[in-house]
Each structure stands twice: as structure tokens, then as C-alpha cells.
Amino acid sequence: MTVTDLVSYEDALASYDPVMGLEVHVELGTRTKMFCGCATAPGAPANSQTCPTCLGLPGSLPVVNATAVESAVRIGLALNCSIAEWCRFARKNYFYPDMPKNFQTSQYDEPIAFDGYLDVQLEDGEVFRVGIERAHMEEDTGKSTHIGGATGRIHGASHSLLDYNRAGIPLIEIVTRPITGAGERAPEVARAYVAELRELIRALGVSEARMEMGQMRCDVNLSLMPKGAQAFGTRSETKNVNSLRSVERAARYEIQRHAAVLDGGGVIVQETRHFHEDDGSTTAGRVKEEAEDYRYFPEPDLVPVAPDRAWVEELRGTLPEPPRVRRNRLREEWGISEHEMQSVLNAGALDPILASIAAGAPADQARKWWMGELARRANEDGVELSALPITPEQVARVCALVAEGSLNDKLARQTIEGVLAGEGDPDRVVEARGLKVVSDEGALGTAVDEAIAGNQAIADKIRGGKVAAAGALVGAVMKATRGQADAARVRELILERLGVQG
């Protein structure tokens, strides 16, 4: 591989303005596929969720999934788009073995939703409006696994395995208008847009939009134009950039690479590029010497989709509060800073925190656990917060045990550890590990007496008025009770026994 020259990010931005276009594919979470009744659950054995239609068998015909159309309309409305009064599917013709019919049923010049925008908030609170050109419905292809090649790519493979379970899964492709004027913040805008879109999709309940599972996939199109110029430069299309961080890195890398090519007097080739997670670079894929001719034409096997206006308005009424608005409201309710809120978002902790609050936990407690102990653990394990083996309800239960005085901070921590270790619900862990705060005054009294007896010198100091020395005795009691005592109560008892006012 040739080493790619890069210009420093700052230098690149000093000479050029970036123009971005983001194309995001979202797999809808419908129970059945876009054009047939096959199941969509992930993880099924290869080719077990197929039928004549999604295998493209001769004679088979598609029927549109009404839930998918509804999801598309809701997404369109949430993106402030106009909803087509009448639109058709179109066939996108090209040959590829994982495409059963060798055409993809998609939409071409009649998307179901068009002309919208999404306001995204950057880390410092600035709001940037991203124009939405269109959102259209289409079907996913099957999945090829290339065997025998070094890279998992088709080049060098001895054979390929095809799984058509994914073929026909409903997709919504959301295409932005060219994003201009973001300047040096372009990569941040890209990330914030994809993050906001993901939140929106989740809030709509139309998909879990888990990027690591391919439920949401992003292509980053980028070009540079000399500062002050009006005409866009030639773009590169970086495909399948599948995490928020990668979206930002890919945009940044392409800015630096384009600048190097342009500075060197070269020309940008319009091509697709592959993004590499390991070093954040991109490499050339297929060169688009001439625009591929997909020979689109209206799909004759499907009747046009004509969303009833009253129904569209009814759906508008079901839209959730926009994620950005909701976040700002919660931030104010919780009384935390932009920065703290951003940390919550970055950690993917918003939903778990809200779920714990819904389960009865005080907001600050829920935030404390999810952003503290649990965030640290997720980070260590390299998983998303939501993937930890603890539920928001369990966290809420721990908060309740602390509030009623059954657990102190340290014991609560151990309880959570137990839940994460698969030892069961918090109550069960407390029981099995014997973690309850020792509140039996008799047992505690004995421990205090023993501590005083064993540390007469310190006891004398306290009696002499050195109240601060009580800490040492508290420590001794806590040690004796293996941390299960309420430290504040222990201190009270010690001072009481020694006849000193606290």
C-alpha cells in the first residue's frame, strides 16, 4: 500500500472549505421484511428466513410492508420533510450475487419524504441546521462472506457464502443536502448529525439503530473547494463508516487527504473509499470512471404509495419530542452543565438513566451510578453501557436500598458488582453476600466497646476533646464489621460512649 500524503488539519482548513454529504441507511425494526412476510430477527441460521419473494424465485412478487411505509412517513415527518402525496418504487438494476433479483427495489425520483432538515447541537451548544434532501424506502441485499481471502474482501477469495436472511429487510436511506459552512467543524457536524439521527430513530421506535450491528450505516461524501469558491470540488465517497467516532475521523482524514492532493496540483478522483477503523485512514475502492448506469424505472410489480393526508397528520401527532429539545429540557431539570450532559450522551447513558429514573431512582443517584461505576465498567469491558448485564430497574433498586439505609455507598458498589457478575437481582446479591448495613445496635455497640477497649490511648484523646481522633476508632469498627456498618452511626455511638459532644 502506498503511503498517503496528508496535510495537517489546520493547514487544510486554512486553504479550503469542506463540503459534506451524508447518506445514512437505517434498517427498520419491522417484524417482517419490506416485500414479503419473512421474519427479520437477527442471528437466525443462514437462509432460514427466506421465501420465494426475498430469494427472487421466478414468478414471485413483492407486496409492500405497511408498517415500513408508516415508519418511513414518521421518519420523514420527524426530519421536517414534506411527505409525497403519491410516489412509486423504482428498480435499481445491477448484478451482484447477494442481490436475489439483480435489481434492488428502491425509490428514485419519487422519494416518500423530501425537503427537510435536522437541527443538531454541537458540543459547545451551537445549533447547526443540516438540510435533508430526501428519505426513501428500499430493501437490503443479502450478505456475502468471502472465504479464503486475506482481508475478507472478495479479492483473493476462493469462494463466497451467501446468506439471504438480510435480503429484503426494510431500509430507509436518508440523504442530506450538501453541508457547507461548517468549516473546521465539519467532522464534528458529521458526528453530531449521525448521533442526532440515531437518537431520533430510536425515539421514534422504528429501529434500534445500533451501528455496531449494521442497523445504521453511514456513507461520508466529502469534497473541498478553495476558500471563497462557489463551485464544489470532486467528491470521494467513503462507504460504511459505522460508528460515531469513525464518521468524525473519516471526514477529518478525507479533508487532510484531499488537501494534500489539491496542494500537490493533483485532481481528486471520484471514487468510493474504504474506511479503516484501526488507523482512521481511507483507501481507494472502486473507481467510478463513468457514473454507473442503474437503468432505474418505476417498479411495475408494485402499485404507487399514496399516503392519505389525514393519516399523515395523525402520524405527525404521534411524533416524540425531538431528542435535542428533550436533552436540553432534561439538562435544565437536572441542573447540570452542557459539558456534563455531553458526557452523559457520549457515554450512551441517557436512556439507562431515564429508565432507572422511571423505575423510581432519584435523578442524581441514577446519574451517579450510570456515569460512575457502570460507565467505568463498560469502558473496561469495551462494551456499550446498555450492553452491561444490569438493568435500569436493578440500578433503581440499589438506589432504593441506599435510600432506606440498608446499603451504604461501599456496599452498594459491591451489590452492583454482584449483579454484573451474574449473581442475580440486587436483593439476592445482598442476601447471598451478606452485604446489609449492620444496624443491630447491640452488635454495633459490642463492636464499639471492643474498639474503645483495644485503643485506650485514642479513647483518652477523644475524651480529652480531640474529637477528630474518633475517625481511627470508626475505622476499627468498620474493619471489624467488614464495612457493613453505617459509619455515621458508629461515630455517634463512639462519642456517646465516651461522653463527648460531636
Binding site: 424465485l57 414471485s60 412478487l61 438494476n93 424505472f297
Partner: protein, 497 residues
Amino acid sequence: MTDLTRLTAAQTAERVAGGEVTAVEVAEAHLARIAAVDEKVHAYLHVDREGALAAARAVDARRAAGEPLGPLAGVPLALKDIFTTEGVPTTVGSRILEGWLPPYDATLTKRLKDAGVVILGKTNMDEFAMGSSTENSAYGPTGNPWDLTRIPGGSGGGSAAALASFQAPLAIGTDTGGSIRQPAAVTGTVGVKPTYGGVSRYGMVAFSSSLDQGGPCARTVLDAALLHEAIAGHDPLDSTSIDAPVPAVVEAARHGDVRGLRVGVVTEFSGEGYQDGVMRRFTESVELLRELGAEIVEISCPSFTKALAAYYLIAPSECSSNLARFDAMRYGLRVGDDGTRSAEDVTALTREAGFGAEVKRRVMLGTYALSSGYYDAYYGSAQKVRTLIARDFQRAFESVDVLVSPTTPTTAFPIGERADDPMAMYLADLCTIPSNLAGNAAMSLPCGLAPEDGLPVGLQIIAPAMADDRLYRVGAAVEAAFHTRWGHPLLEEAPVL
């Protein structure tokens, strides 16, 4: 003893229901007839002897158990090899699907089975229904029972020839540009293209999705109506299927009547290229309609002259996309997969070997017509012509109830005569194509023999969409009058095979 193969479907069903004959006896008589004559005719690509007898036995068992039988229970049928049949070969007349055993039944196949119809086998056809002579079948041509050296029409030549040679009283065809009506015309049988969306396309291998329509083929108008009713009706598996009651076609076929009916004669369907004998029989038919009480009106549909051109852009465009799935990956033929070649190469080699010349010609035409830069000029213009044709029909049906024309400009031509002249072949569908483009209903029924060659001539009746019953009302009246005039059905005059 009655020759069971000479009965109509209605007669057969009546006798099976009345216990005069068993469904198995009827099936065996037809299987014997097939064994005796099909070597000469080649109407069938595949005879499903076991399946047919099992279906017949099931009908007999139901009768024995006192269960009610449908109006076609126990009647044998020849199924065009374009409808999928679970576990029974379905080739569409192409090498590319040789050996494929579909894992599912077409909706039409299912409905036939549910009706107790006994499917004898799958009939020959032009490859992917592309042709007007059945010469484009990868499995050899079919002979016209009136003269085995002539074509039986196409693409459904096998179905029409099976009827005309008494190898089945009923058959199924598909009509994209005339593939039911033109074979019916040249074999002296009855064929109906129902309103587009009237019969489910689910499980019918697609040629041109917006034009393809399955329909009934029979020897009488009533039989066609009985079959029409059995296969028609809404199917949730076909989005383009019409969700409305099926027109009362059987009722109409039982009460043929044209009194007071306004019949339009399309002036564009005459002139150069129309055989004298065909026009003579057609003129007689119009006279007959007048005698029977119809009012005859001359109607001009100027856009019809552009129908053939529009058709040969739309049909190839859709077929270029529909046939893309035959890539050797999942089913059917696979050529050149020796472990060294890429999937792309194997696909190319398979399509090269598996498709015939006419299929390739149309795939190439369609690919070109849909190409960026040409789309508007070709596909786009063709769609505009389609709209104009629909308007011509609409205007015509404001002043008449049905339109009539010859079904096809000439009688059956000799096998091989037009094989190397696609344009000449395409002209066979001149009169039938407008109805496909407009999606309305049309029928062809026998109206006599051309004096110069003694071959059958077809009369085409066209009705507005969802007025399929009009075809049968008019058809039944014309058929009855002709039978009275001739003293017998036309097929009685066909040579004995």
C-alpha cells in the same frame, strides 16, 4: 362409447358430478390421447401422469364421500409452463430453467387444484413467452393441429394446440401482447385475456410485469368462462391484483345476447398486411352481429398505429430487468463453474448458453432503452403512447360497448417462414397489443376458415377494464349463431390426428 376427449369442460364436469364417468376415467382418456398424438403435435413439455391421476382420484373420492364438487371438478387442463407448480418442472420454454423444480405453487395453480381441476401437464411456449409462433421454445416447436407444418401461434402455442388436438378441454395461457388470443385465433379455439389485475400473477414467471396477464383457453365460450371464474379474483400476494368482485362471466356466457349492443369496428385494424380471407371472415362476423341485433359503429383509434412500437420498448425494458435474476446463483442452469471462474463469468456464460436468440435480443433492446440518456426518448415516450392508447380506448368506449377486429392479420403461417424476420413475426400481434397496453379485457373466438388456405380465423372482441362479462355475452351469442350456421363447432372440421 363417448370419446371423453371430445366433451366440453362443462359436459365433463356434469358427467363426473353425476357419476356417469369418473375423473380418473376422464384423466386416463386424455393421457391416452396425449400418448397417441403428442409426439406429432408437441403441445406438452412435461406430462404429469401421476399428479393428474392423484388429483382425479381425489375428486372421485370427494364425490364418493358426498362432498360437493365445484363446476370444474375432474376436468383435465393443460397448464402453460410459465406458472410454477410445486415439485413439477417449470421451464418457461427456456434452457435456463431446465431441471428446476419450483418449491411453490402459483396462486393460479393453487386455485385450479382447489377447484378439483386435473392438471395433465405443462405446455410448450415461446421462451419466456417471447414470440408469436412457439418456435422460440428451447425444446422445439409445436405443430398446429390444423396443419402440423404450420405454427400454432405463440407464445401459448402448446396450450392452444392441446385444445385443438383434444389433448385437454381446458388450458391456461398468458397474454403479454396477444399470447392467448393469437394462438386461439390460428387454432380455432377460444382464448381470453382478462382485465389486467383480474387474475393473480403470483407464481407466473414474469416477462413484462405491466402487460402480463394469465387467462383461460378453451374450445367453447362457456368453458372459458367457467375457467375464468375459477382462476380470477383478488390475491393479496399480487399488489397489482384488483380487489373487486370478479365480473359475472359464467352468467354472461350462459346468456349470449347482442341485441341493442353498440359494437365498434376499429378502422385502424385493416388494410395492408391483412390477409383477404381473414378480412372476409371478419366482415361476415360484423354482418352477423348486425343480424343478431347489434348496432355497428366505425371507430378510429389513431394511436393504435403506434402500439407495436411502444410495446417493443416497454416489454423488452421490463424483461431486461425481470430476467436479470437468472444468474446461475440460486437455481436453474449453471455453466462454467469449474472452480477457477468468478461469479460474474459464470453468470455471463450461463446466460449466454441458457437464453435463446429472441430473449437475448429483447434483453439487449430493453437494456438499451432504459440506459441513462435514452430513457426519456425510448421508455418515456413509450409510456406516453401507452397513455394515448388508453385514451383512445376510453373515448371509443364512450360511444360503444365493445370493439371488434380480426385477432391477427393472417392465418397460421408455415413453421420457419418468419423465424429469421423478427419484424414480420411482431406484426402477428398488431391487433392484440393495444389491449395489453391499456390493460382492458379481450377475447378471441373462431369465426370461420379463410377460403384461400382453409385455416381458422379469429374474431377479437375488446371490452373495457372490469367489463370482462361483456366479452362472454357477445362471444356466446356469436358462437351460437356460427354453430347454427356451420351445423357444428369449427374444430369438427380439423383433420383427425
